[in-house]
C-alpha cells in the first residue's frame, strides 16, 4: 500500500488523469484513509503479527504433537512443519474471517451510517466507488495474509528451528528449499483469500449489513469445506472456493504436482469475477435515494 505517494501522484498528473478517470485515485485515497482510521483494521493487522507467535509458542510447548492435521506430527520439532500446521489451521476459517472483517463491512458501513447520499454527491460515480472499495479490500486482504505468513514463518523458524523437513512423499527437503516451499505454500493462499474477499464484498453490498457481510463468507467457507470432505460428491470439489486452500499440498510432494494449483487459479478467479459482477450489478441498480 503506497498511500503516502498517492497525493503527490494525483497532484502531478491532475490534468491527464482528471480528463480520463475522474476521481478513482481520489476515491482510492479516501477509502484507504477510512480503512486506516478504523480501529478494527489496525487490530487485525497487529493480531496477524502477534497471534501466530503465541500459537507457535503454545504448540511448541505441547508434550504431544497435534497429529490430526497435516504436518502436525513434526510440528513440535520442525519449524517448517509448524509453519505448515498453522497454515492448515488458518485455512479452516481464519483466512476467510481475516478478510471478511474488513471486506464484509466495506459497503455495509455506508448503509449503516447512512452516508451513501453524501459520498455520491462528491464528483464520484457509483462504479468509481465500487472499484475503489474493492481494490482497498483486496489490498488489505493481501497485506494481512503477508503479515500473517511472515510472522508465522519467522516465529516458527526462530522458536522451533529450521531442520530439514520430511515432505508429503517421505522425501527429505533441505532447509533452504523447505523455506522456499513453505513461503510458496503461504503465497498460494492469496488466490482463495481474494475469492473470499470478493464473496464478502458481494454479501456486504447485497445484505447492507456488516454482520451478514462478515459472518456469511466464513459460514459458507465452512459449509464448502464440509461438502468438499464428503465422499461420493467429489466432482463438486473443483467448484468450491475452499478447495484452493488445499492446493499447496502438491508443492511438498515428490514428484511435485501442480494440477491443483492451476485449478485454484481458475476456481478463485471464477468466484471473484462472479461475485464482483453480481455485487456491481446490485449496487448499480440500487435505489440510493430511499436509503
Amino acid at each position: 500500500m503506497t498511500t503516502g505517494t498517492l497525493p503527490a501522484e494525483a497532484g502531478t498528473t491532475v490534468p491527464a488523469v482528471a480528463a480520463r478517470r475522474p476521481g478513482l485515485l481520489a476515491a482510492l485515497r479516501f477509502e484507504t484513509l477510512k480503512l486506516r482510521a478504523q480501529l478494527r483494521a489496525k487490530c487485525l493487522l497487529i493480531g496477524a503479527i502477534l497471534v501466530p507467535i503465541a500459537v507457535v509458542v503454545v504448540v511448541h510447548s505441547q508434550p504431544r504433537p497435534p497429529k490430526d492435521t497435516l504436518f502436525g506430527r513434526f510440528a513440535t520439532e520442525n519449524g517448517f512443519a509448524m509453519a505448515l500446521l498453522v497454515l492448515g489451521f488458518a485455512t479452516q476459517w481464519v483466512l476467510p474471517l481475516l478478510t471478511a472483517i474488513v471486506a464484509g463491512d466495506m459497503f455495509a458501513s455506508e448503509d449503516q451510517h447512512g452516508t451513501w447520499k453524501t459520498v455520491l454527491t462528491r464528483s464520484t460515480s457509483r462504479s468509481t466507488m465500487f472499484w475503489a472499495k474493492t481494490a482497498v479490500a483486496i489490498a488489505f486482504a493481501l497485506v494481512a495474509l503477508t503479515l500473517l505468513a511472515a510472522s508465522t514463518i519467522a516465529s516458527s523458524w526462530l522458536i522451533v528451528g529450521h531442520q530439514p523437513l520430511t515432505g508429503l512423499s517421505g522425501q527429505t527437503i533441505a532447509a533452504r528449499s523447505a523455506l522456499e516451499l513453505v513461503s510458496a505454500s503461504w503465497a498460494v493462499m492469496a488466490l482463495p483469500i481474494v475469492g473470499f474477499t470478493c464473496l464478502a464484498l458481494l454479501f456486504s453490498v447485497w445484505s447492507r449489513s456488516a454482520a451478514v457481510g462478515i459472518a456469511a463468507p466464513v459460514v459458507l467457507g465452512l459449509v464448502m469445506q464440509l461438502v468438499g470432505a464428503l465422499g461420493g460428491i467429489e466432482t463438486l470439489r473443483p467448484f468450491l472456493l475452499s478447495t484452493p486452500f488445499e492446493a499447496w499440498h502438491g508443492l511438498l510432494a515428490a514428484p511435485r504436482f501442480t494440477g491443483p494449483l492451476l485449478d485454484a487459479v481458475v476456481t478463485s478467479a471464477g468466484w471473484s469475477v462472479v461475485c464482483l459482477t453480481a455485487a456491481f450489478l446490485i449496487l448499480r441498480r440500487r435505489d440510493i435515494t430511499g436509503g
Partner: protein
C-alpha cells in the same frame, strides 16, 4: 424480509441445481482411487523405511532396494475400491535382509484417505516397530514408519498396478464348544487380499477323524465350519489341519481343547 427469503431460496435452488447437473454429468467419480494409492503409498513408505534403517544403523537399505509394492482395498469385497474413507487397507511387500517377512510376504497398513488425496497410514508394528524406536546411539526417537501422512496427485496416473496379494486365513476360535450331540464348529476369518480364501479343514480328535469340510470365504469376512462327526467322549482336544488352495493359511495344525462331557 419476504424478498430476502425469496432471494435465499432462489440462490439455494440454483446451487442445488448446478451441483446436481455437475454430479449427473460426471457421475460423481472420485480422484481417490486404488491405483493412485498403490503408487504413492509404497514410494513414501520406502523413503521413510530407508530413513528408519538409517536411524537403526541397518546397512544396505535404500528406497530402491526395498522394492516396495502395495495392493490396496477399500471395505473388503463388498465395496468398490474408490473414494475417501478410513476403511482402506493396503498390503505392502518389501525386502529388507534385516527384517524377515511373514509367510504371506506382506504387512498390512490401515489407511485413512481424505477426499483431497491426503492420507494417514499406520504400519504393522510387528514389522516396522512401535511409535518410538531406539536409534544406534541409544536415543528414543520417533519411528518414521509407524504412522505417516502423505498426499498423492489427484490427477496422477490411474492405470491399475496389477499388484495382487493373497488373503491370510486365520482360525479365530480359541475354545471349542460342543453342542448337545458333541459336534464342534470352527470359526475362520479371511483377511484382505485379492481373491478371498478357499480350501478344506480336516479335524481329528486323537485318532478319530471328524471329517473334512470345504470353505470358500470372501476377503474381510468370517465363516463357521460345522464338523459332522461327534467328538468322542474321552477326547480332550481336537486338531484342525487347514489346507488352502486360495489364500495363505496357518502353516501348522491348530489344536484346541474340548471341555469334558457333561455327566
Amino acid at each position: 424480509m419476504r424478498r430476502f427469503v425469496i432471494t435465499v431460496v432462489a440462490a439455494l435452488a440454483v446451487v442445488v441445481a448446478v451441483s446436481g447437473a455437475v454430479l449427473a454429468g460426471t457421475g460423481g467419480g472420485s480422484s481417490v482411487t486404488r491405483a493412485r494409492l498403490e503408487r504413492s503409498l509404497p514410494t513414501e513408505f520406502a523413503r521413510l523405511y530407508a530413513d528408519q534403517a538409517g536411524l537403526l544403523g541397518h546397512r544396505g537399505v535404500t528406497p530402491a532396494s526395498l522394492q516396495a509394492r502395495a495392493m490396496c482395498d477399500k471395505g473388503g469385497a463388498v465395496e468398490p475400491d474408490v473414494g475417501p474413507g478410513s476403511n482402506w487397507i493396503c498390503l505392502v511387500s518389501w525386502t529388507d535382509p534385516n527384517v524377515p517377512m511373514p509367510p504371506e510376504g506382506y504387512g498390512k497398513f490401515e489407511v485413512d484417505v481424505h477426499s483431497n488425496g491426503c492420507f494417514t497410514a499406520g504400519g504393522p508394528s510387528k514389522l516396522v516397530g512401535f511409535q518410538t524406536i531406539t536409534d544406534r546411539r541409544g536415543r528414543e526417537v520417533t519411528n518414521p514408519v509407524y504412522e505417516f501422512d502423505g498426499c498423492f496427485d489427484p490427477n496422477g496416473d490411474n492405470t491399475p498396478t496389477g499388484n495382487e496379494f493373497p488373503s491370510v486365513l486365520n482360525v479365530t476360535t480359541t475354545a471349542l464348544l460342543p453342542d448337545a450331540e458333541r459336534k464342534v464348529s470352527l470359526q475362520l476369518s479371511c483377511g484382505t487380499g485379492s481373491a478371498g480364501c478357499q480350501g478344506t479343514v480336516s479335524a481329528a480328535a486323537g485318532d478319530t477323524p471328524l471329517g473334512t469340510v470345504p470353505f470358500d470365504v470372501s476377503e474381510e469376512l468370517t465363516t463357521s465350519l460345522h464338523f459332522p462327526t461327534p467328538v468322542p467322549q474321552r477326547a480332550q482336544s481336537v486338531t484342525f489341519t487347514v489346507t488352502t488352495t486360495v489364500g495363505v493359511g496357518p502353516t501348522s495344525p491348530v489344536t484346541l481343547p474340548v471341555p469334558p462331557a457333561r455327566p
